[in-house]
């Protein structure tokens, strides 16, 4: 009887907890590049790791401080710098994707306020959303 009630208690805790959104996804080292005053566009970076057993698909991004947030990729081609919107981002189980200067980045457009301190951005996955505070700072190497 005692064992049963203990089991029920554990079950209640497990069931009460909302299902983890973006299951397996860990977002670390988030930051937004400090931008010139009045900048119309900023860039956000982070490391995205999938510790789960299923692929994580990030379909879109958003943030209350911005009119629009898109995943973009900078790359060099034929001596030219190009920046392109990148489609849904799939992170395979056990792998990581780096959003870093000169590569993938979150394109933060139409800021609704002067972005200082930090800004909360939301990642949209198949099973929900994950909101993370991105601190604003100058790049470490600069």
């Amino acid at each position: 009887m005692r064992a049963l009630s203990a089991l029920l208690a554990v079950l209640a805790i497990v069931l009460a907890r909302p299902a983890p959104a973006c299951e397996g996804l860990a977002l670390t080292q988030p930051w937004i590049r400090e931008a010139p005053p009045g900048a119309a566009v900023l860039a956000g970076y982070a490391r995205l790791s999938n510790h789960g057993r299923k692929p994580v698909v990030l379909s879109s991004f958003s943030g209350d401080d911005f009119g629009s947030v898109e995943l973009h990729q900078s790359r060099m081609a034929d001596g030219k710098m190009q920046m392109r919107a990148a489609g849904p981002l799939t992170i395979a189980p056990g792998s990581s994707v780096e959003l870093s200067p000169g590569a993938y980045h979150l394109m933060l457009m139409q800021p609704r306020r002067a972005i200082a301190g930090s800004s909360r951005l939301t990642l949209h996955c198949a099973d929900g959303t994950l909101a993370v505070d991105f601190p604003v700072r100058a790049p470490a190497s600069e």
């Binding site: 010139p36 005053p37 900048a39 119309a40 566009v41 000169g102």
Partner: protein, 206 residues
């Protein structure tokens, strides 16, 4: 063949091979002057007359490149990733060159005059350094400058009419005090290598 003869032959063959290698090295010496972080043109190239404006509204033409070394970088302010990285790197470079008493004018040319008003460009460029010069102008004048400097740029549509992006050359263009193209630096840019090369070139007045 006696063992002694065989050894002599072997040594002779090795010496011949070595001599061949040395000659090949000499013949392969490049024509342009190689520096660690870029290429200097053996023959500097003149820049066609152009007329742009700086962010204070003053004319920026060939005369503004006369009498000092300049480093020109093309970009646009709606570029939140690569352009700030390059400008921050240039800020570091300028600091090193200033400390070494090596004067250099850093020029950021916006290839996006449609969105980059002088005011916007001013705030953007001077956030990195009050000494940097931001310039832009009509598309026709930008084309002229780009052609002379072998730079390319092109508008690429985005999801909305306002969210287009610009493809642009990643090279930094070195201009000599005669207002001619003296060389190019290609990414990835490394501050220390650039600083060493520029000190050598500018001090040598090559």
């Amino acid at each position: 063949m006696t063992p002694a003869k065989a050894i002599t032959l072997g040594v002779a063959a090795a010496l011949a091979a070595l001599a061949g290698l040395v000659v090949a090295q000499l013949m392969l010496t490049p024509k342009d002057i190689e520096i660690a972080s870029g290429t200097l043109l053996k023959q500097p190239r003149a820049i066609e007359a152009f007329q742009l404006s700086d962010t204070a509204g003053a004319p920026f033409d060939n005369a503004r490149l006369q009498g000092h070394w300049s480093l020109v970088f093309a970009g646009f302010t709606y570029c939140p990733d690569v352009c700030p990285s390059t400008l921050a790197m240039l800020k570091g470079l300028k600091g090193k060159l200033d400390a070494a008493q090596t004067p250099l004018q850093v020029v950021f040319v916006s290839v996006d005059p449609q969105r980059d008003t002088p005011d916007k460009l001013d705030r953007y460029v001077h956030y990195f350094s009050p000494e940097f010069v931001g310039i832009t102008g009509s598309e026709a004048e930008l084309e002229k400058l780009a052609r002379s400097m072998s730079l390319v740029f092109a508008k690429v549509p985005g999801s909305t009419p306002d969210s287009y992006t610009m493809d642009h050359s990643a090279a930094l263009v070195l201009i000599n005090p005669q207002a001619q193209v003296a060389g190019y630096f290609l990414p990835p840019h490394h501050v220390d290598a650039l600083s060493a090369d520029l000190q050598r070139v500018i001090r040598g007045q090559r």
